[in-house]
Each structure stands twice: as structure tokens, then as C-alpha cells.
Amino acid sequence: MFYLRLAWKNIWRNKRRSFITIASILFAVFFAVFMRSMQLGMYAKMIDSVVGSYYGYIQIHSKGYWEEQSLDNTFERSAHLEKEIKTTKDVVSCVPRLEGFALLSFGEQVRGVSLTGIDPNEENNFSSLKNKITKGNYLIQEDKGVLIGEGIAEQLKLKCGDSIALISQGYHAVSAGGKYTIKGIVKLNSSRMNNSTIFMTLGSLQEFYGTGNRISALAINLKEGSNAANVMAAINPKLNVQEYEIMDWTEMLPELVQIIKADSSGGEIMVLILYMVISFGIFGTILMMIAERKYEFGILLSIGMSRLRIITVVLLESIMIALLGVGGGVLFSRPFLYYFNANPITLTGKAADTLRKFGFEPEMPTLLDFSIPLTHGSAVMMISLFLSLYSVFSILKLKPLEASKR
């Protein structure tokens, strides 16, 4: 206890120096935490835009479907399997989908589109599709109408109430064709999807393709913060591995993982530079402290204070300074993190257009995950302790007689 008190008092011997050191650690932690929270928050938003609001964190397909996305690789919908999945821990929702391609014909215009068959109620719970309606109405169960992406509507000058013809090849190469009324227009996050996707009820699409009760995927969303690998491990025993494949979003969207990884390395380099700058600052303080107190250490050795005790006091001082800086940085960053989480920075101009093109919302909310301040706080603590080893070595090398000469 005495050493703690002595270390605490020693810190405030040179108030200005201690304040500068603590402030430099505080701002380093603040910037590292804020920067990473914003970056990781943006990634979380990107993942949520693409994964959470459409793909799902996990998907179950017929074995081989992802490699060859054909109607022939669809599987019979099973109420039992869906129930089993829905009751798995951390699963929030599980929706059936049938996906395929078709040619859309309107007047003299023809273009390729992607068809998605959905259960309107379950899909709305899953991806809030109803909220994305910009014109017209959402689908109801057994609806015969379709929802079209805003991009298709603009390009083909389609409006609600118009009839479109769809032609394709159905299950087992049967010919598929039908005429559908546009019930609503949806604005999807991804411009690619916006320009190509048409939603209809699962029953309508199954009828169109002649697939019977078959679906191409079960998309699964998870509770926030849950681990997809753990959920997959829990679902796996419930699946016949010969018949189904289960994939998480990182396997389905490797390009998204790559984009995040590439962008994240830039942030990591920035944090490393920040750490280097703060390291020099802390090291400078330690050098000054050792030079300033060499005489005092010599006297303490002379009167019988062991090196171990002197080292203990000096290390306690370093730990206290680092704790004050780190703690201050973490506390100081919290209000900013909460504010920018609730009021994300919205990108505009070309940057926003680029993000939208990839299906991401151009927003940068901060991530409130406490692991970020914990990681960066611990890193700065470790740097401080590592640099304090210099003072340990200096004290170990100190000769009382030489040190106590002014």
C-alpha cells in the first residue's frame, strides 16, 4: 500500500510532464478506439445491408447448389426442418426462397431478371421488405402480383398495375412462362439487385417454374452478436449432410470479406502508426524520468532500498500513468461513440454512389462493441509496460555511488 501511495505521489511531482504523458495516451486511445469503432461500425453496416437484410448470416441449400445455382439443385421444402432450425439457439428467423432467372418482356422491351419467390410475411420479418416499397403495395399470401426493383421500373418505365410477361426454363427443363401484374416497386440496397430483382410469392414462382414444393435456399438470420460458426455447429446434426449444404455469409460472399479485409488493413496501419507515435512519447517520458531521478535512485540504493523495491515503485508509476491515460481515453471516447452510433455520418457524392452500387448503405455508424476499447486499451497498456522495461534495466545497472553524484 505504501508503495502504491509513493508511486501515486511521485506521478504528481512533475504535474506538467505527467499531464502531457497521460493526455498523449488518452488521445491515442481515443483516436484508436474512435477510428476502429467507426471502421468496424461501417463494416457491420455493410454486412447488415447485404447479409442481414437479404442473404442471411447462414443459408442451407441442396448439396452442390452454391456451385451450380440451378433449379435442378433445389430441394423439397420441409416444415419439420424449418421448425428444427427456428428452434435452434440464436436463430431469429428462417425463410424459404426459390431463386431463378427469366426474361422479362414489356412492350417491345426484353431483359434478363432475377426471380425470387418468398413467403411475404416471413420475408418481411426477415428483411423488412415491406419498408422498401416506394410505390404500390406489398405482397400478401397467395398473391399473384409481383414486386419489381426500382432500377428495372425506371429503365423499362414500368409502373404499378402494368403487366409484364416472364419467360424462362423451369424445373427439369420444362418451359416456363406467365403474365404478372406489378403490385409494387421496391428500393433495394444493392443497385445490382435493384436493377434485376423481381419478387413474387413462393407459390407463384414454384408454379411458374413447375418445381412443386421445392425451394433453393433457407436463409437464416441470427441474434445480434451471436457466432455463426456456433449456430452452424448446432444446426449441422439436424441436417442430412448427404442432402444439404450449410454455409455462412463469409463463404457465400467472399468478395465482401475481401473488401472488408483490404479496407481494414488500412485502418490497422493507421492504428499502428498511432501506437508508434505514442510509444515514442512514453519512451521520452521514461528517459526523462530516469535521467531526472538517477540521483534520487542512487540515494535510495545508498540508504538501503533494494533495486526490486525501486523497480516496483517505478513500474507502479508507469502502470498508474498508463491506466489513467487508457481509462481516460476509453471514457472520453464513449459519449462520441454513442452519439455517432445514434447519428451516423452519412456519406454523400461519389463515395455514397459507390457504396450504394455494391449494395451498401452510405452510413458510418460507430460500433459500440466493448471489445474495441478493451483491445486498444490493453495494447497501449502493454506498450507502456514494455517500454517501462527500460527503466527496470536502468535501475538494475545503477551503481549507488555513481548515481548519487550530481
Partner: protein
């Protein structure tokens, strides 16, 4: 009874191209309860001798026995321990710990020795009272005069019941009144508790009060006078 026995001690510094002999075969015996001043001009070797007696420097040749223990070849860490338990130091520049109060400074040595809190506080209070600083127990060094700081340093040196006190030019930074006051305290402690004091000094006022004066010149004892 001999408390400090210095036998044929040599100290040669080889820090430059030309070796410098600071002590040349010094023989000296200091008994318990002595009040000894080691005097001599600058460079005569008095500080070197004091450092060797205090275990802060080692002799190039010869041997040193303190309180019946030969400390000539003790390892550095053993010497630190030896100093803690046997020697009280008073320095020219006081060298109190600036962030601690007078009482905490006096307690410090006892704390290093592992004394219980109550006993430490009691002894510190008693010593500060003896050196006339009862009203300054909670003052920090910066709030005290040089003389007061040196009296705290004496109290600190005596706190752990050392075998003897080594004082290197203890009055060099003090005015006459403070010097006399400090000497009165040390003389009284010497007489009342038979505490052994060994000084290195230039100060005639210290020399006048010492009961034994050892004069060094060119690293050798020139005279050794008991008054």
C-alpha cells in the same frame, strides 16, 4: 570495542589513463560511541574513506570489518541489505524523498525493514520530537528550511537503530544557527544513547565539537587526535 576496523585499505581509481590512488594503506579503528570527524583538504580521500566504510564503494585492497562482520567482499545486493540494517546516512544535500512528509521520510527506512505501522509511527514521532520538529511532522521537505530538512535526515538515519551514522559534510549547506542546532542534537544523541557518529567535514564548527579528529592527506592518515 572496535565497531569499524579498516585494515590497510587502498583505493585506486583506474577511470583515466593514469591510475589515481585515493587511499594508500589506511588503518583505522573506530569504537562504539565515538564522535569522529574525518577532515582534510579536497582530494585527501576523506569521502572515499567514508564511502568505503559505508559500503558504497569497495576497496582495491585491504579489508573492512563493521560490527564484527567482514564486508569487504559482500555482493552488491548484500551490501544494500547491510547498509539498511547497520548504517544511518546523513548527506550534504539532505536527500529526503520530496513527496513524503517529514514523518513519512523518517518512517521510510523502518518500512523497508518491515516494521509494523504503529511502531513505525511511534518511533518516527519520537525521533522528530527529539530533533525538535514535532510541529513539522506533516510538512514536506519543500516546506522546511535546510536546517530542518537536515534534522529530519538525522532522524531518518537514526530510525532503524543503526550501528553507526555516517555523515558526509552534513553542515555544508547550513547557516551557523542551523549548524549549531544540528550539532547539539547529534552530540546529545551521542552522549545519551552512545550512538557512533562518523563525519567527513571541512567545517571547523563540526571539528570543534568532535571528540576525535582524523586528518587525511594524500590518501593517508596524517594525524588521529582524541580530544
Amino acid at each position: 570495542m572496535s565497531l569499524i576496523q579498516v585494515t590497510n585499505v587502498h583505493r585506486v581509481y583506474n577511470e583515466t589513463d593514469i591510475p589515481v590512488s585515493a587511499l594508500k594503506g589506511v588503518n583505522l579503528s573506530i569504537n562504539e560511541g565515538e564522535f569522529t570527524a574525518i577532515v582534510g583538504p579536497s582530494g585527501s580521500g576523506k569521502t572515499t574513506l567514508l564511502n568505503i566504510i559505508g559500503g558504497l564503494d569497495s576497496a582495491t585492497d585491504g579489508s573492512l570489518e563493521v560490527a564484527g562482520k567482514n564486508i569487504t567482499h559482500l555482493a552488491t545486493n548484500e551490501l544494500i541489505d547491510f547498509r539498511l540494517n547497520n548504517i544511518g546516512f546523513v548527506f550534504q544535500a539532505y536527500n529526503l524523498i520530496p513527496v513524503l512528509t517529514a514523518k513519512e521520510n523518517v518512517e521510510f527506512i523502518m518500512l523497508l525493514q518491515g516494521w509494523e505501522k504503529n511502531k513505525r509511527e511511534q518511533r518516527a514521532m519520537q525521533l522528530l520530537e527529539e530533533v525538535g520538529l514535532k510541529e513539522k511532522v506533516n510538512s514536506k521537505p519543500s516546506q522546511m528550511s535546510g536546517g530542518q530538512q537536515q534534522r529530519v535526515a538525522v532522524a531518518r538515519a537514526l530510525a532503524s537503530h543503526p550501528k553507526f551514522v555516517l555523515a558526509d559534510e552534513p553542515t555544508a549547506n547550513l547557516d551557523s544557527a542551523s549548524t549549531n542546532n544540528l550539532l547539539d542534537i547529534m552530540v546529545e544523541l551521542n552522549q545519551r544513547e552512545q550512538m557512533t557518529f562518523v563525519f567527513s567535514t571541512h567545517d571547523q564548527r563540526v571539528i570543534d565539537r568532535a571528540r576525535r579528529v582524523i586528518t587525511l592527506e594524500d590518501g593517508q592518515i596524517k594525524s588521529d587526535i582524541y580530544k
